[in-house]
Amino acid sequence: MTPMRFEAEYGPLWDDFAEQLSLANQGKPVDAALLAARYRRVCENLALAQSRAYPIHLVARLEGLAQNAHQLIYRRQDYGLRTLGRLLRQDLPRAVRAEGRCVLLALVLFALPLALAFVLALRGPDFALHLLNAAQLRDYEAMYADGKQSVGRLREAATDWQMFGFYVFNNIGIGFRCFGAGILAGVGSAFVLVYNGLLIGAVGGHLTRAGLGHNFWPFVATHSAFELTGIVLSGAAGLRMGLGWLAPGRMTRLEALRQAALAAVPLVYTAFSLLLVAAVFEAFWSSAAWIAPAVKYTVAGLCWTLVLAWLLGAGRTHAR
């Protein structure tokens, strides 16, 4: 078949297909079965045109059509509550358990400095001053001082909503950066983990030593269930990505990086959901000074149990 006859025979089909594609790309409803049938014909035409070395303008036209249809047909559209539910019930906890070694490493990198800084800050006033300057420490003391309506705030004027916005913007932002920085051989994530561990430990130890523990501990007990796990998981995701290409095994480094990033993404999703819940609790529940510490501790125990049960137990059996 000559190029001219080819074009004369299939040209009308290509025109119809192009028109249908532009309609579909504007979001208008089109006959999907017809579109799919025409797509297959056009792919067939493209393969023929390429193998027969037809003129380039012809091949390019078919290529453009196939490309646009490709983008339209294979775009993922199954977003919805069902997918989200499945993600939360099974996929995320499973992914976290599958990366258990990275999570453990992140936990060690976070918890050891935290415990160390806590003990050191508890034993004397010097250690906390190595990490924070005196003004910052005074601010922390003011935040957890007695007789305030909402604990954990510098200014009384800040409302729950403002703090919620701040926690989302700041804490989840840190979680995402902790993951992103992991590509630098995991160093970025390790730094964020160790630094935050030291800081949290030092502040906790300092406030306890200063006699403000009765305000501090009820405040942090509940949302820490979500926030600390969130930090550890985003750090674990970063470590997974960084160590993935550092020790690629039998893959090329690039391939290993791609695989590692793919494995790490569910961990970031998990960290994101945990940090979001943490922000809600921190803004609306933890700060309420009128709730008795006993109640807060009970809820905190419940939350820690729930989070650990979710991460360790959810999605273990195939529910059919």
Binding site: A66, Q71, R75, R76, T159, G165, F179, G180, A264
Partner: protein
Amino acid sequence: MLSLQPAGLVSRTMAFLLDLLIRLGIDLGLLMLLSSLGGLGNGLILLGMFCVEWLYPIVFELSRWGATPGKRSLGLRVVMDTGLPVTPAASFTRNMLRVADFLPLAYAFGIVAMLLNRECKRLGDLAAGTLVVHADPVVLHDALPPGAPLAPARPLDSREQAAILSWAGRAKRLTPARFEELAQLAAPVLPPASPDEPSRDAAPRLLGVAQWLMGRRA
């Protein structure tokens, strides 16, 4: 097989700057609209800024256009290495890794990475397995100019046919002198010129051969 044309540093930088402007505009709009609402307003501003910073590129890349408004206005599109539309996990990865691309300042790592590989990928693209491509590839070949068909002196194999057709498709873009010069290379396949022919040039007669190859007969 589909061919993809990766976008270069300049067009991607332009797209980024456009997006930056749009994002700053949204942030300013939020500030002006909501700052009078007190604590609730401030909370919403911060939530909005979070969404604009982190979710804006992801949402737009997963949309029908496969590109943020900035990329779209420059004719760019984000796709997987395979040419498939970008997946949620890949879009998420490439946008989270902006953090690493930005280091040590002003996207230095990202720019170096883009200049060092053939497909112009920044670190985020390398990890996510994504490409930023021109949505509508540039085609430098037009339809063949008209002419009377002329049978070649001998049968041509497919490579020779393809070369002559490609040459004819560039008629509008080459200077007449260069067009003729290239046609001279194919002079052996032209049939001997009849004595009453007005022009001795090879180009018009090779165009005739191209028309003959396209399937036109006298």
